[in-house]
């Protein structure tokens, strides 16, 4: 039992020892400082002693330092030895030098940074008898410092090399930092020139106050200002567009103490956008112009088509005219013979025979009628000679009335004129439209008993769906076309309805034999067709008939 106890005791002691060594080792590893002492004799370096902490820092034990009096010098990094010796010399010369940071090579051949702070020791007489020093391992700090420096350099390189303007401002919007691009824009030669200044010193007042207002809002709210497109005029007067982002900078407590800004130059993009916009509006203008030209072309095309139709009509009439002229020539010679023959016979035959006298008169009338049919036929076909000019329709109607003055007064017809005073001018062959008006007024006169009344109206109408619904006569005209409407209204007995569809047929007449040729309305229709107009004849609900015709008026732009 005793043996077992002893064994257990030994194990326990062993464990306690191991535990103690472990603790020591851990303490040693945690130690970053140690103290050394150097003795000075007659102004020369003497023995040196190192406390046990030296092992943790240098890897060498105090005994090793004691065994080699120059070990302390050998572990100093070669490049730092001169500095250390300078420090030693200053101590020996009686100075109190500041701490020195230098490198050592430890026992494991690793480079360590240490801070070496020596404090001279003197005797009662004030003579230097040695110095104590504190060696602190600052390798960790040095590494962090180096890392920070690297990081700082990286950041500085970055902000100085980006083409954007970057700056930092304090809580009063004073510059704290400006990158190279920003300095260049500000026109500052020195990296520190702008520090402490504000935008007011660099930019036009209006812009600077705008920037300041934005920044005050940002500093107050802590909300960043993102991607603001803003105009900039630099101190040299160059104009830019910047896309600006400003973010608040906060201190450790989260209080906003300043701001950082980055401005991206979007002048080119803006200019391009503006150029694009200008190009677009030029394009739009051109498109409008093209559309206008297209409209004009369409109008011209329409006019050409109308002209073509008129030409076709004219060509038809021309062939009819040639025929009519031939017929006229061939018929007029026989008529001449009949006329002459009648006159000869009238002289040779007994004058007192009433029957003969009547026969002569009938034959003479027949010749006259035949001749007037020829005349109408020639009129019907004489469309090749078509002279269009812009005329005042009311004046043309008045002249026709003047030409008919004696017929109208013989028939005791009252004429009432209801003319639109501001009727646009009408492109027409004046003589032909006069003939139209004469034929219509003569027809109206002949349709009435004595003391009849004719009403002549003119009116301006704009073609379109509404107008066409109200008046089928304008149906064939295009939306928006300006028309002049003429109405010749009589108060006769009207035209029997079954005859209305044939009213424009050549040689169709409702008049008594010998009164009409049956060509008057045909001539009217031909002339109106030739003008591209429209005509209708209908009965009016009260009494009598009305002839209604429309003609295109001069286009507004051609009026002036």
């Amino acid at each position: 039992m005793k043996t077992e106890f002893l064994f257990a005791e030994r194990v326990r002691s062993q464990q306690a020892l191991e535990h103690s060594e472990e603790r020591y080792k851990r303490l040693l590893e945690a130690t970053t400082d140690y103290i050394y002492t150097v003795e000075v004799e007659n102004g020369e370096l003497g023995a040196n002693f190192h406390d046990p902490g030296c092992e943790a820092v240098t890897g060498f034990t105090p005994a090793e330092f004691a065994a080699d009096p120059e070990l302390w010098y050998h572990i100093i990094h070669e490049e730092d030895r001169a500095a250390v010796l300078r420090q030693v010399r200053r101590i020996l010369e009686g100075e109190l030098p500041p701490s020195l940071e230098h490198r050592i090579i430890n026992k494991q051949r690793q480079v360590r940074w240490v801070q070496n702070t020596p404090i001279p020791r003197r005797d009662a007489l004030g003579n230097l008898i040695g110095y104590d020093g504190l060696i602190s391992d600052i390798t960790q700090r040095k590494r962090i410092e180096a890392e920070l420096e690297t990081e700082r350099l990286l950041l500085r390189t970055l902000i100085d090399n980006v083409p954007d303007c970057i700056f930092v401002k304090d809580g009063e919007s004073r510059f704290v930092l400006n990158n190279r691009a920003h300095l260049k824009m500000l026109g500052a030669a020195d990296p520190h020139e702008a520090v402490g200044k504000t935008d007011t010193q660099y930019f036009p007042k209006e812009l600077a106050s705008q920037y300041r207002a934005d920044e005050e809002a940002l500093l107050r709210s802590g909300e960043p200002l993102q991607n603001r497109e803003e105009p900039v005029v630099d101190p040299q007067g160059h104009r830019y567009w910047f896309l600006t982002t400003k973010v608040p900078l906060k201190d450790a407590q989260g209080k906003v103490v300043g701001l950082a800004g980055i401005c991206h130059d979007i002048t080119e993009r803006k200019d391009a956008a503006e150029r694009l916009q200008r190009a677009y509006s030029r394009l739009a203008n051109r498109e409008r112009a093209l559309k206008r030209i297209l409209r004009q072309l369409k109008a011209s095309h329409r006019e050409l088509k109308e002209t073509q139709l008129q030409l076709i009509q004219a060509a038809k009439l021309e062939s009819l005219g040639t025929l009519a002229a031939g017929v006229a020539h061939e018929v007029k010679n026989p008529l001449q013979i009949i006329t002459m023959g009648l006159e000869h016979l009238a002289r040779k035959l007994p004058q007192e025979d009433d029957q003969l006298a009547l026969t002569f008169r009938d034959v003479r009338d027949a010749v006259k009628r035949a001749n007037s049919i020829i005349k109408e036929m020639l009129a019907l076909s004489a469309a090749t000679d078509f002279h269009v000019e812009s005329e005042d329709l009311n004046t043309v109607i008045d002249r026709s009335l003047w030409l008919l003055n004696s017929e109208l007064s013989t028939a005791h017809v009252r004429v009432q004129r209801e003319f639109a005073p501001d009727l646009p001018r009408v492109p027409m062959d004046r003589a032909k439209i006069e003939q139209v008006m004469i034929n219509l007024v003569v027809n109206a006169t002949q349709a009435m008993e004595k003391n009849g009344a004719i009403t002549l109206r003119t009116r301006q109408v704009t073609a379109g769906r509404e107008a066409a619904a109200a008046d089928p006569l304008v149906r064939s005209f295009k939306e928006g076309e300006n028309l002049a409407l003429v109405e010749v209204q009589d108060n006769g007995s009207g035209i029997p309805d079954p005859l209305l569809p044939r009213i424009f047929d050549p040689f169709f007449t409702t008049k008594p034999v010998g009164v009409g040729t049956g060509l008057g309305l045909s001539v009217v229709k031909k002339i109106i067709d030739l003008h591209g107009g429209a005509i209708e004849v209908k009965n009016t609900p009260g009494a009598g008939a009305v002839a209604r015709l429309v003609l295109r008026t001069q286009r507004k732009e051609a009026q002036a």
Binding site: A325, K332, Q336, I337, M340, G341, E343, V367, N371, I374
Partner: protein, 126 residues
């Protein structure tokens, strides 16, 4: 009573020339010679020595207008008035040109005798 005036009537249609001759001579004021061939007008005129020529404008074998110009250029007939007779125009057209076309008086067929006589008398200054 002065001597009868001599009138040359030129028309390609014999019925017309015959009736005109009869009606004119019935007035006992005129002596009438007719010609139905345009190409013979000069010969006939030289022989007959007319005081006035009634000339159809359109005839086969000769244009009346051209014939009139040639007659007027000829020294023998320069002073002889010419009156056109035509079926090609209407009375209205003639009157709208004051009875003259191309500087010469016109009569539009069909024309009656009073008109023909009026025109002749006017031209002869009677």
């Amino acid at each position: 009573m002065s001597a009868k005036k001599k009138i040359l009537v030129v028309d390609d249609e014999p019925s017309i020339t015959r009736l005109l001759k009869m009606n004119l001579e019935d007035t006992e004021q005129y002596l009438v010679q007719v010609e139905n061939k345009a190409e013979r007008v000069f010969d006939t005129a030289r022989q007959f020595q007319p005081d006035l020529i009634l000339l159809d404008v359109m005839m086969p074998g000769g244009d009346g207008g051209e014939l009139a110009s040639r007659l007027q250029e000829h020294p023998a007939f320069r002073s002889v008035p010419i009156v056109f007779l035509t079926a090609a125009v209407t009375k209205e057209e003639v009157s709208s040109h004051k009875g003259q076309i191309g500087g010469l008086p016109f009569l539009a067929k069909p024309v009656d005798m009073p008109e023909v006589l009026g025109c002749i008398q006017q031209q002869l200054g009677a």
